[in-house]
């Protein structure tokens, strides 16, 4: 049993932050790694990236968007309540080096994962440029945290309600045109966003890392549900990833795989409401 120490609704009713008491995981977790959470006895196992950790308090932070039954159920939990199982840390940590200048691109809940990695890059001595985007102003998360980490921060919204209007790729392209010292791009967010970022950076021949979040069950390399095609070869996100070289990922197949259970998700959610 893992107690939720603090709950915060980053976007009301939609994006929620938990600080969970898990001292063993907090001691080991590195940026880019994830945990698998099972809420209760009948629950499913869902992967959630560790958005932050506090070794001294013994807590890890997870941020999730409510999309299906399990996340809806988690929304209904309050601080002081418990998650039945939290397994981790899983996956390979992000490779953190001092490159000089790096660009961290995040979209939607992807910013949650991104900010942990950005923090690590900053700590390693990089000049960190952040570009974070959301659909609208209300959906933007972790703006202040990113501001504290990044040396420069650009914000975009699809509808222009805050920051620049448009997608994260537009300011990114500008940066790529203007600055020649950028050594690495990290892109985390919706698959379509990561795909577009990778298409863009390919033109500039710039190394790009992405963090994938596919369907997963055990998270230890046993089920193969999280398989993705990397350079035509099958890799497992849970043990070979979740971070991959974005230029090698087959995004089309990943997109299709991730939408497999949308209908079931809905059915399950309806069932639980009933």
């Amino acid at each position: 049993m893992f107690q939720i120490v603090r709950k915060q609704e980053l976007v009301k009713g939609s994006i929620i932050k938990f600080e969970v008491n898990a001292p063993k995981i907090a001691r080991k977790a590195l940026a880019g790694q994830f945990v698998i959470v099972r809420v209760n006895k009948t629950g499913e196992r869902i992967p959630l990236t560790i958005a932050d950790k506090d070794e001294f308090a013994g807590t890890i932070t997870i941020i999730f968007q409510v999309v299906g039954k399990t996340t809806a159920l988690m929304r209904s939990l309050n601080s002081g309540e418990f998650l039945l199982d939290v397994v981790g840390p899983l996956g390979k940590p992000a490779e953190i080096n001092n490159h000089g200048t790096v660009v961290m691109v995040g979209g939607g809940t992807g910013v949650a994962i991104l900010h942990h990695i950005a923090k690590a890059f900053k700590k390693a001595g990089n000049y960190v440029i952040g570009i974070i985007g959301a659909k609208e102003k209300d959906m933007l998360i972790l703006e202040n945290e990113m501001k504290n980490i990044c040396d420069e921060l650009i914000i975009t919204t699809d509808d222009g309600s805050y920051g620049q209007r448009g997608f994260v790729t537009q300011p990114l392209e500008k940066y790529l045109d203007e600055r020649y010292d950028i050594k690495l791009v990290y892109a985390i967010g919706p698959i379509i966003m990561m795909k577009n970022v990778c298409n863009l950076t390919k033109k500039y021949n710039l190394p790009t890392q992405v963090s994938l979040n596919p369907i997963m069950i055990d998270g230890t390399g046993m089920c193969g549900g999280c398989r993705v095609e990397i350079e035509g070869k099958i890799k497992f996100c849970c043990v070979d990833g979740p971070d991959f070289d974005g230029h090698k990922v087959n995004f089309e197949k990943l997109e299709k795989r991730n939408s497999l259970y949308l209908k079931d998700e809905k059915d399950s959610l309806l069932y639980s409401i009933r």
Partner: protein
């Protein structure tokens, strides 16, 4: 004379009886009722005496009234009218006169005596003779759920023996002086002894006898491939079918559990040494049980949220009920074994870190990394690995969706690729999810199917079809990237390969396609990878499995042992347990 106690109504050993003088058969069948007919004289009157022709269970019927303890005057053959009363033999129980007839067993003629005193059971058979007759008892099969009904539920298929069936089956054992079956058992269970205890109706003692060597009899009795192990060596198997050792093992274990006879021993001895067991599958459980009973302090680390390893996530409920697995693990906990769930060793603690807190580490990681065939279209939707399909169904209980949250993979036309037990499990599971058609595609012929015969039979009974000598080469998808068909090629068998099986060779231009909307890939697994990312110093072989010293199961790292599938590749539950035992002994020896 003969007892009326009728015990085994349906399963009795039939006796063929003959007159020793005229050699005519004394057996008669009237209105489907089988009898042995004699002429007899009782208190001066002549009458007809009818006996039921079964060993140990005689019924008596006579044309005159007869009382318990009374003696017949004489006994005649109804054909030649000669007196059957022996002048040399007398009853060894009560000293009365006896009638002598002949019975045949396996073409041998054996003298058989009938005591003339009513109620006396003596029949003068030596042990050897009795055995010869018992050879005629057919192997008893377990009663099973109806073929149609069982495809509608997830409950266990065989019901197990009743005590009557178990007694009868146990009676078939010849109690060989040098039992070959014990050699066939990877943990050398004293098989004749436990079977003898069954014949003496000491079922709980029989279970204890097995547990001296095997802590999980209820599980092994169900999932061990006995036909390749103990039962393959049984002498009876040469001419007839071997003793159903597995079924008997299962029976006594179930009996002990159901009758609540499992007692948790108090372990007085304490050894102040700590053992870490990584993985709670069969090998890990064995190591833990052995060492905790010796007095060590044992902690099991399990990566998933449930214990049991492959017993829990892999083998389906209808083959191995999860309540049994949990019962065995609860027993271990009662013995004092600690279990820590959700611990992915390698990530949360490396082996080196474990060694700081523990004196020895045992790695029973298992081989669960699914293999793919690396053909076009494998990332399409509704193509599952066997592990994902089974994990969803067994561990996550997707078959209870939406009560349980994990969605159940569904399809109307399901294809399972592979021919092993896992493939059979998947196919039978798919049938139970309501698929209209389930086909197993296997590249060799029926003869090479690696699955147990019993599993293949069960699958066929339940309606699973087999497409043999067929190999998929490509998957075709719909516009929504879901699988819709599979292109296959026919195969023929060529020369024998290293495994001794004939190598399948594709026949050119024999491509054809199979429509399907769900594919399950069950073509084997590799070693679980996570731990090796942080433990580079553990030596592994070419296939990625851990190299161990086969005498001690110690790895290349000091105080680190390994066993089970992570050493051998996919094997059986009992082999993993055998490996665990070797490691446990070695650990004890080195720490003592």
């Amino acid at each position: 004379m003969l007892n009326q106690d009728v015990k085994y109504l349906k399963f009795r050993t039939y006796l063929n009886t003959y007159c020793p003088y005229c050699k005519n058969s004394l057996n008669q069948e009237i209105d489907n009722e089988k009898q042995i007919i004699f002429k007899a004289i009782y208190k001066g009157k002549e009458g007809v005496l009818k006996l039921s022709p079964y060993l140990d269970v005689f019924e008596i019927e006579s044309s005159f009234k007869i009382k318990q303890g009374d003696m017949l005057d004489d006994l005649f053959c109804p054909h030649c009218n000669k007196s059957l009363v022996s002048h040399e033999k007398y009853c060894e129980e009560c000293g009365s006169k006896v009638g002598e007839i002949i019975i045949s067993a396996h073409t041998k003629l054996i003298p058989f005596f009938i005591c003339l005193k009513y109620g006396c059971e003596w029949h003068g058979l030596t042990k050897a003779d009795e055995r010869k007759i018992k050879l005629k008892i057919p192997r008893q099969e377990m009663p099973e759920q109806d073929q149609k009904l069982r495809t509608q539920n997830f409950q266990e298929v065989p019901y197990g023996y009743t005590s009557e069936l178990a007694l009868l089956e146990a009676g078939r054992c010849l109690q060989c002086k040098t039992p070959k079956c014990v050699e066939g058992c990877p943990v050398n269970i004293d098989i004749p002894s436990f079977i003898k205890l069954i014949t003496e109706k000491k079922f709980d003692k029989a279970a204890k006898k097995i547990k001296e060597k095997n802590i999980l009899p209820a599980i092994c009795g169900r999932v061990c491939p006995q036909e390749n192990q103990c039962e393959s060596k049984c002498v009876l198997g040469i001419k007839d079918k071997p003793v159903a050792i597995g079924n008997l093992e299962r029976f006594v274990a179930d009996y002990e559990r159901k009758m609540d006879l499992v007692k948790v021993p108090v372990i007085n001895k304490k050894i102040n040494k700590k053992i870490a067991v990584v993985g709670s599958g069969p090998s890990g459980l064995t190591v833990a049980a052995d060492l905790v009973q010796l007095g060590y302090s044992v902690t099991i680390f399990e990566a998933l949220h449930a214990t049991g390893g492959v017993l829990t996530y892999g083998i389906p409920e209808f083959r191995l009920p999860k309540s049994i697995v949990q019962f065995e693990i609860n027993y271990l906990q009662k013995l004092g074994c600690r279990i820590e769930l959700n611990q992915v060793i390698g990530n949360i603690n490396t082996i080196d870190e474990l060694l700081q807190n523990f004196d020895s580490v045992f790695l029973g990681l298992g081989a669960g990394l699914p293999r793919f065939m690396n053909i076009e279209g494998e990332t399409l939707g509704n193509i599952f690995t066997a592990n994902e399909f089974l994990t969803r169904m067994n561990l996550m209980k997707a078959y209870l969706f939406p009560e349980y949250d994990t969605p159940m993979p569904r399809g109307n036309k399901v294809v399972v690729i592979g021919g092993g037990n896992v493939a059979m499990d998947c196919a039978r599971m798919a049938i139970r999810t309501g698929a209209n058609e389930v086909t197993v595609v296997y590249r060799r012929s029926r003869h090479e199917l690696p699955a147990r015969h019993e599993e293949v039979r069960h699958a066929e009974e339940e309606g699973v079809k087999f497409k043999l000598l067929t190999n998929p080469i490509k998957y075709l998808g719909t516009d929504y990237n879901m699988v819709k068909a599979m292109e296959c090629i026919r195969m023929k068998l060529g020369e024998k390969d290293a495994s001794g099986r004939r190598r399948p060779i594709p026949i050119e231009n024999s491509n054809f396609s199979i429509d399907c909307d769900l594919v399950i890939i069950a073509v084997g697994t590799g070693p679980n990878p996570i731990i090796f990312q942080s433990a580079k110093d553990i030596k592994r072989n070419k296939r990625g499995y851990i190299d161990v010293d086969t005498k001690t199961n110690q790895t290349s790292k000091k105080n680190v042992y390994a066993g089970g599938d992570i050493v051998t590749g996919s094997a059986t539950v009992i082999q993993a347990m055998g490996a665990g035992r070797i490691a446990a002994n070695a650990i004890h020896k080195s720490l003592k």
